[in-house]
């Protein structure tokens, strides 16, 4: 864990540099044919969505490890991943409607992918609420919730291809022209580095909190 923590400042600096350059790259990227300027939210919206899904998977897998082996490290990672899923999910759910308002004319539409993304986000908010207000033993219960949250992620991804609706399908990213793909790749990499750094920092915080709690309990005994 300490070796990972030593890398965090470097990763954060690299991510910062990439984020500083990103707006210039986005500005230079070509316009999409129908939507004009507003489409460029895509370069932040989609990487944020990818990080949300990644975080949901990390939380789910860590939850499985915690349910099976009761290893505390798994629990720490699960909590950190759930929090980051909520944060990045919030970015997706805010940038999405901004884009939608201009592109589709409505702030929100109850169609497959939007609904399922909102639902998935709410599951991880519920995870955090359970841990905060559930009292003793809620770490194991929350692990079960995290597992269910992860199980829903494939539905979110697959749903848009099954129910063809307003939201662009999953073919968009694969079929980007090279000038757009390079900008998208840059932003995706920046988000990934930021995510990994935040995850490491949050896990370290959680480890410290648990150690403090153990110390309190030891003093009480």
């Amino acid at each position: 864990m300490t070796t990972i923590n030593r890398f965090v400042p470097f990763v954060l600096v690299i991510a910062l540099v990439m984020f500083v350059r990103a707006p210039f790259m986005i500005d230079a990227a070509p316009y999409e044919s129908t939507m004009g300027l507003i489409q460029k939210i895509f370069y932040f919206h989609v990487p944020a969505a990818m990080m949300t899904f990644l975080s949901a998977f990390v939380c789910g897998i860590a939850s499985i490890f915690y349910l099976v082996g009761r290893k505390r490290t798994a629990d720490h990672i699960a909590v950190a991943a759930a929090e980051l899923a909520v944060v990045f999910g919030l970015i997706v759910l805010v940038t999405g409607p901004i884009w939608a308002r201009k592109a589709w004319g409505v702030w929100w539409q109850w169609e497959a992918r939007l609904t399922m993304t909102l639902v998935m986000w709410m599951i991880f908010v519920a995870y955090l609420l359970l841990r905060r207000f559930g009292g003793a033993g809620s770490d194991v219960l929350a692990a079960a919730v995290g597992l269910f949250g992860m199980a829903l992620v494939p539905f979110v991804y697959w749903s848009v291809n099954v129910w063809r609706t307003l939201h662009p399908t999953t073919n968009v990213v694969i079929s980007l022209p090279p000038e757009m793909m390079s900008v998208f790749g840059w932003c995706a990499a920046a988000f990934l580095l930021l995510y990994l750094a935040l995850l490491a920092v949050r896990v370290r915080l959680e480890v410290a909190r648990a150690a403090l709690e153990d110390a309190f309990l030891a003093v009480e005994d």
């Binding site: 349910l67 099976v68 609904t115 399922m116 639902v119 998935m120 709410m122 599951i123 519920a126 609420l129 359970l130 207000f133 559930g134 009292g135 003793a136 033993g137 809620s138 194991v140 219960l141 692990a143 079960a144 919730v145 597992l147 269910f148 949250g149 199980a151 829903l152 539905f155």
Partner: protein
């Protein structure tokens, strides 16, 4: 003792207790009526329900009364401190889960048998149009809700703030089931019914049920071993 035999014993125990007092049955049915009443006043214009609304009212009523029945069924276990006894019994953990699930499904089926004709009556919904399909949708939807609900209600029995945490945890995860149920039922009730669409939603519900029951069975053991 096999898992199913033990599960049936547990379910029978719940049914016998319920048959003696009929507390859950009466109160859940009347709660469902009260729910329907509130929605009637919200969605009725000029004495008739808005287009497509009866399907939604049916499923919201099922969801809310199911949640209530869940939390009160496990409250009974908590008060008698019988949940620990169940977990100590020499049966598989899965049997406890399946037993409670069966009991809840039977209770909810009883409630729905009463509610569906009432909704058909009050909101002029064509419940007789495709009765087996409607029954299938309700059955699979109820099983899906009950599968996740039983797991979470059992998990939360000893938790703090359990009354509000059960809906907070259950509803987001049960949303796919509710969506499939409502859209399938609406396809049956529509002015131009589309039974093929309803059947595809039924297939989706069967799939959700399989996933949810498998996940719940798998998680029940580790979660309840405290």
């Amino acid at each position: 003792m096999s898992v199913l035999a033990a599960a049936w014993l547990i379910a029978k125990k719940d049914l016998v207790v319920e048959a003696r007092s009929r507390e859950l049955a009466y109160t859940t049915v009347f709660f469902a009526f009260a729910c329907m009443l509130v929605f009637a006043f919200s969605f009725v214009r000029d004495g008739r329900a808005l287009e497509g609304v009866p399907a939604g009212i049916l499923w919201v009523t099922v969801t809310f009364s199911g949640t209530l029945a869940l939390s009160r069924a496990f409250e009974r276990e908590r008060q008698g401190e019988t949940l620990r006894a169940l977990l100590l019994a020499p049966i598989e953990r899965a049997a406890v889960y399946v037993g409670k699930l069966l009991g809840l499904i039977l209770l909810m089926t009883g409630v729905e048998v009463i509610i569906v004709p009432v909704i058909g009556l009050l909101f002029d919904a064509p419940i007789g149009r495709a009765p087996w399909l409607l029954a299938g949708l309700l059955a699979t939807g109820t099983i899906g809700l009950a599968a996740v609900g039983t797991l979470f209600a059992a998990m939360l029995v000893r938790a703090h703030s359990r009354d509000v945490l059960l809906p907070v945890l259950l509803y987001p995860i049960a949303v796919p089931v509710v969506i499939a149920g409502v859209l399938g039922t609406a396809a049956i009730f529509a002015a131009e019914p589309n039974l093929a669409v309803a059947r595809s939603w039924l297939a989706m519900l069967v799939f959700f049920d399989a996933v949810f029951i498998t996940l719940s069975l798998w998680t029940f053991g580790p979660v309840m071993s405290e």
